[in-house]
Symmetry: C2
Subunit: 545 residues, 2 copies
């Protein structure tokens, strides 16, 4: 044990009585100041963490088998300890109570959620991020990272909107322009987009100071509306319910249009709803397109939506939190055709850009869109300043755009192209494997790299193949698939998620419990995919026994 | 150069033409998979980053002298490179363009904002956080970190509310209870608190489905109100303007009550405003207390506010983003007396808890307060589930509560007590130094560890001492202090911020430009404080020449 940690240990043990102020000050000096002792301690801690992380990343099992209740009991003390702990001892404790029982979301066989292994350089750069600890709320605390983040956001803007060199030369670093807002995740990106949309539609007039000043009830009256709505499909992400509530519309203000068997919004139904809104003098704040849906990766007809939004003269938002990176692929980017007509687009960094958790963004076609949410303060983000905090929901926030910039440069467009194409290839591999086996029924074709299917116990296979399953049959099969998913998680060798689908061939009356696989992890092989299915068949044996 | 980086370099250079799919796949394998080559590369990168961070932390200068425009030019390319870059080369580029020009916010002489040096273990734990990359939206992707975060939040709850052991035993891990919401920063914490407050006040009745369902306009009608307001002082943080806009009230719905010379809300004026709101049938969603204000660290009379809020039967929120950690000090916690009566309290982790940027929380006295913002989805956060994403503004988010837990344990309550007491001691030291020198005028006494003062050029010193400054004099002195603050930043040796104060002895008619010092960095010494003043006197010499 190094000198500094020894000193901290002494303070800690001392503390049965009262550690002296001097010993506490010395401990704090060792924690906060760069010194030879601190360097030695930091190295010691890092070696331990590096080993822990490596072991964690090499584990393909998903979980230990400890149940949630027993695990929760380990974390049942609510008292902040009076006395300090030594860093190494605390890391050991973390290793045992937290790391050992954490979910191996980067395992090649954890294919149930939108998680993945990450490129190693984000771990390295994480230290730089925390070491510099810049605060992006204002230039005074992020001199280089502020323009650096603007550049990263502009790169993503260009990927979507493909404006001219002149356009980017003008706006990329112009204080008054906002090509996008970097946030902690897709939900805040969607909320930010809808906030902009609402405030632009219900903006200032000659006789009204704007919704940002006078609020929603007054804005509706001033603009002659009876209410305000957001329109998307039934498969819209639940963050839009948060947004509708937060923005004062209530979830009633989120109108959900039915989808077809492919999970895409029905355009005729959308047109009809728009007409009804007009008739009722409901203000349409925005039309939302999915690219793709969280449940099945379905992509709405974006060009069709864009056309309808233009006709309806309303904001068009695309939630491409998941699917945005299709744009890296020359082959597949046409799946998102029309996205370039969106007024705003959400893309998550911590999904298919393979960045650490805590990175999302909304890109804005028109650099003036965010002007309606601008806020100022006397001590920071003064009017006319280059401070990024003027036009963002968050205040103080980290420079995680460092990860985004690094990944765009190190992986490059071609690297991302290969990543996305490989993911789609693996999804087709799984779809084929499911189709080939009697035990399974493919529920949705993989439009991207998300697949849903279910297990059919032997006694129902004939009826299933003949399309003769009754509602009661489906309900029984549902229960079995629910248990199967839970058993697979508990077994700990592999993991898929589950959802209830209402747009299958069985019709809306019979929601079908589906096993859901997301294939985005570059380390997942065909062998891993086979193993996931094999585990399911094995676990299901009991039902067929 | 290691084998892997060499391979990536080849792919990169190759790319003048077309790197082959095979070489790209190999590059991706090296980036995403744990392997001997990757381990060697990661180590190489880490050594470089460790050296960069150490150099950064040892630099006491604030900035390079490059101007914002020239720096922005370095980040003016908006095209995502087609081809990959080698990690080491990219880090070198970062070192030159970003790290070299970043702000040394952890410097002991950067005392202008709420930034500080951090304890070294957060850099170490950052690697674990990113390595495990858990997603706190749901237990399936954060099996151990979900209950672990609940524990950290409960510890902070107990620090404020001091409930019984039985209370914490019941609620700490109970799925339906929410003792607090961990978010990316204070703004989201304030927004979350106000969202809860709004939805609780305008909740469901026998004949109304609740604001979360039917929206604000309908809620006001159902509850018989003509509008809704938030009430705080004129020194309220600007995040409340974001919140008022976002929640549909408009910033008009944020009523600001005047403050006394100490920057505290005037209670008689508050009572009068409440009466007026009642008379106008305006719904008071919440009364906000500051602890302390961003500009001067002033603390509102919280017990008085609590009493008024109880009488008015409204939600009482305390924004203790900055001042919350006073509670660690046996000596100073009485400054926050009354905070335990707040319905919700915001505390920032990345301020006086010394955690990395991206950590805030709102603590909720009543574990049911957040039930009114609950949202669900079929694929995650199903009703009744233990998933933390049910009752949070954010969706997918990182396990940064790891930093909070670690700091509470490693630093301990006594460690934090010493930190806060040292900060307050240094603020008094600076106040004394300012008072002792003719060149300065102390504008606000340090209630906590934030101090405002200004430079008085020689020709005005007599009038200033005699209280004879005219408005024109003050305007001239304002301009000089503005320039002085900018010059000090540009000189790069030390940094204070500035603000405009309206509650000085000069009265509201004459906003006074103040130099603002925040003393929270444990590495700042009395010598550093002297140097900050000496730099200012030196820079100001030209005005007195």
């Amino acid at each position: 044990m190094s000198i500094a940690n020894e000193a901290i240990r002494v303070v800690a043990e001392d503390g049965q009585g009262e550690p002296s102020r001097e010993s506490l000050l010395e401990m704090l000096r060792l924690l906060f100041t760069v010194s030879p002792e601190q360097i030695a301690d930091e190295r010691e801690g890092e070696e331990r963490i590096t080993a822990l992380v490596r072991e964690f990343l090499l584990t393909t099992n998903i979980n230990t088998d400890i149940d949630g209740g027993s695990l929760a009991e380990k974390f049942s003390d609510s008292v902040i300890p009076d006395n300090p702990s030594e860093v190494g001892a605390y890391i050991n404790q973390l290793a045992e109570s937290v790391v050992a029982h954490s979910t191996h979301i980067s395992s090649p066989r954890f294919v149930g959620h939108m998680t993945s292994a990450l490129p190693y350089f984000v771990r390295t750069l994480g230290k730089l991020l925390i070491g510099m600890n810049q605060n992006l709320v204002k230039v005074e605390t992020a001199k280089a990272l502020s323009p650096f983040e603007r550049q990263a956001v502009a790169m993503m803007h260009r990927l979507i909107y493909q404006q001219t060199d002149d356009f980017y030369a003008e706006h990329i670093q112009r204080h008054e322009s906002t090509l996008g807002i970097h946030v902690s995740g897709g939900t805040l990106a969607n909320v930010s987009a809808l906030w902009c949309a609402r405030n632009n539609v219900l903006r200032q007039t000659d006789s009204f100071r704007g919704i940002d000043h006078d609020g929603l009830p007054a804005a509706l009256i001033a603009h002659g509306f009876t209410g305000a709505v957001i329109i998307g499909s039934t498969l819209i992400h639940y963050s839009f319910e948060k947004a509708a509530d937060l923005l004062g519309l209530g979830v009633k203000g989120l109108i959900k249009i039915p989808v077809n068997n492919l999970g895409q919004i029905e355009l005729p139904a959308l047109r009809q709803t728009i007409a009804e809104c007009r008739a009722q003098r409901l203000c349409i704040l925005t039309i939302v397109g999915n690219a793709g849906t969280t449940e099945t990766g379905a992509i709405d007809p974006l060009a069709g939506l864009a056309e309808i939004a233009t006709e309806a003269r309303t904001h068009f938002h695309v939630d491409a939190a998941w699917g945005g990176p299709l744009l890296f692929s020359q082959h597949y980017k046409s799946k998102l055709a029309g996205i370039e007509m969106a007024d705003s687009v959400t893309i998550d960094g911590h999904k298919q850009l393979y960045l650490p958790m805590g990175s999302g963004m909304v890109l804005l076609r028109n650099p003036d869109t965010a002007a309606v949410i601008e806020k100022h303060a006397r001590y920071v983000v003064r009017a006319g300043s280059p401070d990024l905090g003027c036009r963002s929901l968050e205040g103080s926030r980290p420079g995680t755009a460092l990860f985004l910039q690094a990944a765009l440069n190190i992986i490059g467009r071609r690297g991302y192209e290969v990543l996305i194409e490989e993911s789609l290839r693996k999804a087709r591999y799984l779809a084929d494997a499911v189709r080939l086996r009697d035990e399974f029924e493919l529920l949705t074709e993989p439009e991207m790299n998300i697949l849903t299917y279910r297990y059919i116990p032997a006694r129902w296979r004939k009826q299933a193949a003949d399309g003769q399953l009754t509602t009661a049959d489906n309900q029984a099969i549902n229960r079995i698939n629910e248990s199967l998913q839970e058993l697979q998680l508990r077994s700990g060798f592999s993991f898929v998620s589950r959802t209830n689908l209402e747009h299958t061939r069985y019709g809306r009356g019979v929601p079908i419990v589906a096993l859901r696989v997301v294939l985005a992890n570059p380390t997942t092989t065909e062998e891993d995919i086979d193993a996931v299915l094999r585990d399911q068949i094995m676990l299901a044996t009991c039902y067929d026994y």
